[in-house]
Amino acid sequence: MSGSDTALLEIEDLVTEFGGAKPFLGKAQRIVRAVDGVSLQLKPGQALGLVGESGCGKTTIAKTALGLVREKSGTMRLEGRVVSGLSPKAARAARTTIQYVHQDPGAALDPWWSIGHALDEALRIHGVTDKAERTTRVDEMLLAVGLDPSFRTRYPHELSGGQQRRVGLARILVLRPRIVILDEPTSGLDLSVQATVLGVIDELRRRFGLTYLFVSHDLSVVERMCEEVAIMYLGRIVEIGPTKEIFARPQHPYTRALLAAAPRLEPGSLNDTPALPGDPPSPSNLVAGCAFRPRCAFAAPKCAEARPPLRQIGVRHLAACVRLDEIGADNPA
């Protein structure tokens, strides 16, 4: 780990909103704050996991970081340069060292184009004009993700899920990014395939010295892949810290519930685990104070007072709960 290094990507107090556009003659859409004051740091070579349930804003952070979605406020520094507050085009241009692997790489490939063609296209877009060079790089990269160069001539729909993910990786890796955002890289994959894909991802990180922002709802995957993890709930980070520590001693009640809910290979464990009541809330109707309050077993009146800020509770370990001391750090939920 290279904890002392300066951050490669630094996100500070990022806010991203959707809606608010007033359609012609219509009611103005409600403004939905998908990301609400998130700060993150990505150090070179690090893998940061971003975990949360659907609708918690993790994918929005990824897209904002990439420049596909424009931030409302907040600062982003990439290798020390400020790359926020730019027009979409300029933002994307300033962030070319960040690349993004889609959740469903099959759908992210133009169905009319062969794999080789699509990879070639990526290079061409990035101004690699020499055809021979492009061919070499594409072949290299296919090999690197564990595909035979003969895959060049195949079409996206002819590939299996695991192969599609590899192609998705290859496509952005030919561009030699420094930061790769992986959006649910294993969702929908069978376990036996997932393992190999994760293996490839890990291998590529080492080989190319990549930095990962790893977006997932699957705790076991994050635990395996990331050194640090951030737990999100309704657009905010509720807990962030070294993976090992968080998995060993989760602090925030939500983190605890999340970890507890993951099925374990332990017969009969169901009965021991209390279930979190209620449904994952929607960001369009927030409650005052702590957003997790309605479902929290430890909720108290003071939770309603204000959004709890992240508090330092260990080395680089922060959590956003006002009752941490009272509910006991060592009291696994």
Binding site: L191, A195, G199, A257
Partner: protein, 330 residues
């Protein structure tokens, strides 16, 4: 070892199912078998393409248009479901003797009909009087309360899109229970849900099963869910049932190389990230004999000779693999 063993409420024996496709006949199920014991939750676990869904469709008698069972039987008590006329299946089995919980609660409800209309459909009989309709409605509302749906009284007048995913799954569970079936088929009912919601639903199902004495066939790809919920489990691979037994035993000491490798892939177990090399064979041209043999590290020449017989090295824990022929307790 002839303990007083109850008869299974549902037993599948040697079931083979073929589906015609544009490229030829696909043999989706090949000599599959399982037994659901009364009052137990039996997991069916396997990866995509293993034939889990086809198994369920075969039980319910709703195989795809060009699909047909080529061999075997599905015994519901004394009756072979494969031999029942379509009409009887609809009137007496589906939704009556066997309740069904689907995979994706977001897609399973018709968006343009009120929830009530759909929930009452399975217990609807032509010519219902107003009074009976009211009784049935009250019955469904009591079920909605049983599945802990908030505001159950008014739920029937609302439309599906007005519910969250977890709530919709509760609605569907209530629907499955509507005609008080003895057996519930659950087809990956939590896959589309978040992990915290999944836990809620699993607990609910477990509770209902115990409370109502249901026998449940629970299909999933997640061994973790099986571990938590089920009493017994059947592992499927490429249309074949490769191993079955009590959950604890299968988890602890799997016999079949596939089960072993699959469990090894689980992040909780694996020390090193390793998958299973190779791919699931196409059902259009399956390998002869054991379908796992092309990927099996312990494969022997006789694996291709024919399908390995089912052997039970320990009581209730059976496997189809030549490796265990010697241990056969017969």
């Amino acid at each position: 070892m002839m303990l007083e063993k109850p008869n299974p409420v549902l037993e599948i024996r040697g079931l083979s199912v073929s589906v015609g496709t544009d490229e030829g006949e696909a043999r989706i199920l090949d000599n599959a078998g399982l037994a659901l014991m009364p009052g137990s939750i039996h997991g069916v676990v396997g990866e995509s393409g293993c034939g889990k869904s086809t198994l369920i469709r075969a039980i319910l008698g709703i195989l795809p248009k060009r699909g047909r069972a080529t061999a075997g039987s599905i015994m519901l008590g004394e009756r072979n479901l494969l031999e029942l006329p379509a009409d009887t299946l609809q009137k007496e089995v589906r939704g009556r003797a066997i309740g069904f919980i689907p995979q994706d609660p977001f897609q399973a409800l018709n968006p343009v009909f009120r929830v009530g209309t759909q929930l009452l459909e399975t217990i609807r009989t032509p010519g219902d009087s107003r009074a009976t309709r009211e009784t049935k409605k009250a019955h469904v509302i009591s079920l909605l309360k049983a599945v802990q749906l908030p505001d159950a009284e008014h739920a029937l007048d609302r439309y599906p899109h007005q519910f969250s995913g977890g709530q919709r799954q509760r609605l569907l569970i209530a629907a499955a229970l509507a005609s008080s079936p003895g057996i519930i088929l659950a087809d990956e009912p939590t896959t589309a849900l978040d992990v915290t919601t999944q836990l809620q639903i699993l607990k609910l199902l477990r509770g209902l099963a115990i409370e109502r004495g249901l026998s449940m066939l629970f299909v999933t790809h997640d061994f973790g869910v099986v571990a938590q919920l089920c009493d017994t489990v059947t592992v499927m691979y490429a249309g074949q049932t490769v191993e079955s037994g009590p959950v604890g035993q299968v988890l602890k000491a799997p016999y079949h190389p596939y089960t072993q490798m699959l469990l090894a892939c689980h992040p909780e177990r694996a020390d090193e990230l390793a998958g299973i090399p190779g791919a699931v064979p196409s059902p259009l041209r399956p390998p002869t004999g054991c379908r796992f043999s092309p990927r099996c590290p312990s494969a022997r020449p006789e694996c291709n000779a024919g399908q390995p017989p089912r052997v039970a090295p320990s009581p209730g824990h059976a496997v189809r693999c030549v490796l265990h022929l010697d241990e056969a307790a017969a």
